[in-house]
């Protein structure tokens, strides 16, 4: 199997960044002054120091967004379909941008094929209240992709076996961070 390089330009994060990620990954405290509380807990100067760090992490793309993180399943989105598509390489970026812009697609990625068993190179995650809803959405995707689709499939998740936030640990580290 051809090895893939996952990361090309890894942003440089210092110890304080890592500590801030650990402090915020389980969520901000629901107090009047969450950033101030975090600053206090980490021994940083004040809420401004936390804000500046968070802003930088946003700017370099380490943080995608800050917000209320809902539980899709609990909110009634019981069907989670990972639609996977075999799209010719020369058009996959154009197609991906188009699919990634759809409201009902929560994630859209290009990933490597594993031929011959796995020909799919475009992944679009679709959440719906039922499988019927997901299938309707997937039909919409199919219509947009048109003749570029050589093959496709929907992989429904039947069980969530583990769902946690990020964990940080280097191999060889004796102490883990959670």
């Amino acid at each position: 199997m051809k090895p893939f390089t996952d990361i090309i330009d890894l942003p440089v994060l210092d110890e304080i960044d890592h500590a801030l990620i650990r402090a915020t990954q389980t969520g901000l405290p629901l107090s009047s002054t969450p950033y101030g509380d975090i600053a206090l807990g980490m021994g940083l100067g004040g809420p401004d120091a936390v804000k500046q760090r968070l802003q930088r992490l946003l700017d370099i793309g380490v943080i995608r967004r800050i917000g209320i993180i809902p539980n899709h399943y609990r909110l009634g989105y019981h069907a989670n379909g990972m639609s996977v598509w075999d799209i010719p390489d020369d058009v996959v970026d154009t197609m991906g941008e188009m699919i990634g812009a759809l409201d009902f697609v929560s994630h859209c990625y290009r990933r490597p094929r594993h031929l011959p068993e796995w020909p799919f190179n475009l992944f679009a995650m679709v959440h719906g209240t039922s499988r019927e809803t997901v299938e309707t959405h997937v039909k919409d995707i199919h219509a947009l992709l048109g003749q570029n689709v050589r093959n496709h499939r929907i992989l429904y998740s039947s069980r969530i076996l583990k769902k946690t936030g990020l964990r940080w640990r280097k191999s060889g580290d004796k102490k883990c961070c959670d």
Binding site: M1, F4, D6, I7, P11, I21, Q25, T26, G27, L28, L30, S31, S32, P34, Y35, K51, Q55, L57, I60, V62, I63, R64, R65, I66, G67, I68, I69, P70, H72, R74, L75, G76, Y77, D93, G96, G100, S106, H107, C108, Y109, R110, R111, P112, H114, E117, F123, H127, L155, Y156, S157, L161, K162, K163, T164, G165, L166, R169, K170, S171, D178
Partner: protein
Amino acid sequence: MSNNRNPKPTPDLAPDLSALQIRLIEEFQRDFPTTPRPFATIAEKIGSDEESVITAISDMKTKGYVDRVGATYATGRAGASTLAAMEIPQDQLEKIANLVSHFTEINHNYEREDKLNLWFVVTAADQASLNTTIHSIEAKTGFAVHRMPMIEHYRLDLGFALQWN
């Protein structure tokens, strides 16, 4: 362009959510204020008060509608990570899934209905640690781990500015 990529709450299925709570979920999945008192800032924007906003969010957390208020991290930007998939005979799935979940580097471990039936994300501090972890999983389970790292992501709403005062 839609401002809200994430699923909206469905009142039919979450009937105990208040109007305030639905609005909070709809409007504050991103661009959460970084003001010294963010919940007061939100309250000001939507015509509520700080205490009501905090109470509404706490209540949703208690009921499980909200996992947390916080940052979502792009795993691929803050270390090394990859989506991975394994093909496990159904009668061994439970056992193997438990072995895999036991690794602290694993999150989002899902059973999916396919020949490749176990899907998870491996995250490590760097590429070497990631390789070590994947090899350990293969050694411990006896099954191959297929790596499906992100080559490209397609999203229009990645960039946004924090609201500074």
